[in-house]
Amino acid sequence: MNWLAFISIFSAAMAVSFGAIGPALGEGRAVAAAMDAIARQPESASTISRTLFVGLAMIETMAIYCLVIALLLLFANPLLK
């Protein structure tokens, strides 16, 4: 195994692991805030949860980007051809 493959696999793992931290913290904050809002105003729960889902999808995209980068490094790496 040459150095390029080693570095690619290592950085794929780094991308996923560190890329998961930020969205996890962000999603936690978002869900906590939404729970708080629903507890205060249960009648607007449907609006809040719809907005929450859309927002969570937006935040989650960051983690998905990292996953796609990792897959590009592992399966479509131009340096390893």
Binding site: R50, F53, T61, L67, V68, L71, F75, A76
Partner: protein
Amino acid sequence: MNSPLASVPLFHIGSMPMTEPVIATWGIIALLGIGGCVVTRRLSLSPSPVQAALELLVEAIDSQIRDTMAVEPAPYRAFIGTLFVYVFIANWCTLVPGVEPPTAHIETDAALALLVFLAVIWFGIRAAGLRGYLATFAVPSPIMIPINMIESLSRIFSLMVRLFGNVMSGVFMVSIVLSLAGLLVPLPLMALDLLTGAIQAYIFAILAAVFIASVVSDGEAKPLPSK
């Protein structure tokens, strides 16, 4: 292990390679088209159970569009509803043995995102005319024109990558666990996969509605009186 980014041609029609997502998409189109024709052939005022269930679905889509876009849903029902139903059934294709969801391949998602991109332009021009649509890029001020242009492309790109990443990661994860441990172990992951698929279908349709609503409402908004 097969790369999740590559798609293998099954057979060729002429010189055009046919991959598995294309066949699965044809299957879904046939299912939805024929199913829709058969069910709506005899509509009555005292609905059968199937008709009642479908009316419930249409009502739900209508109410979501009304809540999200704050407009009457009629012009958008066909596009948004079809997106939702198609992506939902495509994500739940894993329930049929041997079928992979076509949305787990980036080509299908790219096609869907391109449809949303074109629909935003179409509905924007229809709501406010070509001038009005182009003027939405200058909201709130002309300095924002480059940023708005980049945004209109990047949000479509992220729409594509989001659906692809979520569905593909589910399929990928199940196949990894299946290669490590046998029969019943991947079942919870598969259930999670179905949940993710349903949520992603909802989110895809809602985000398409939000993008269309933003351009429609920006175009219809009266320009601020100059001071």
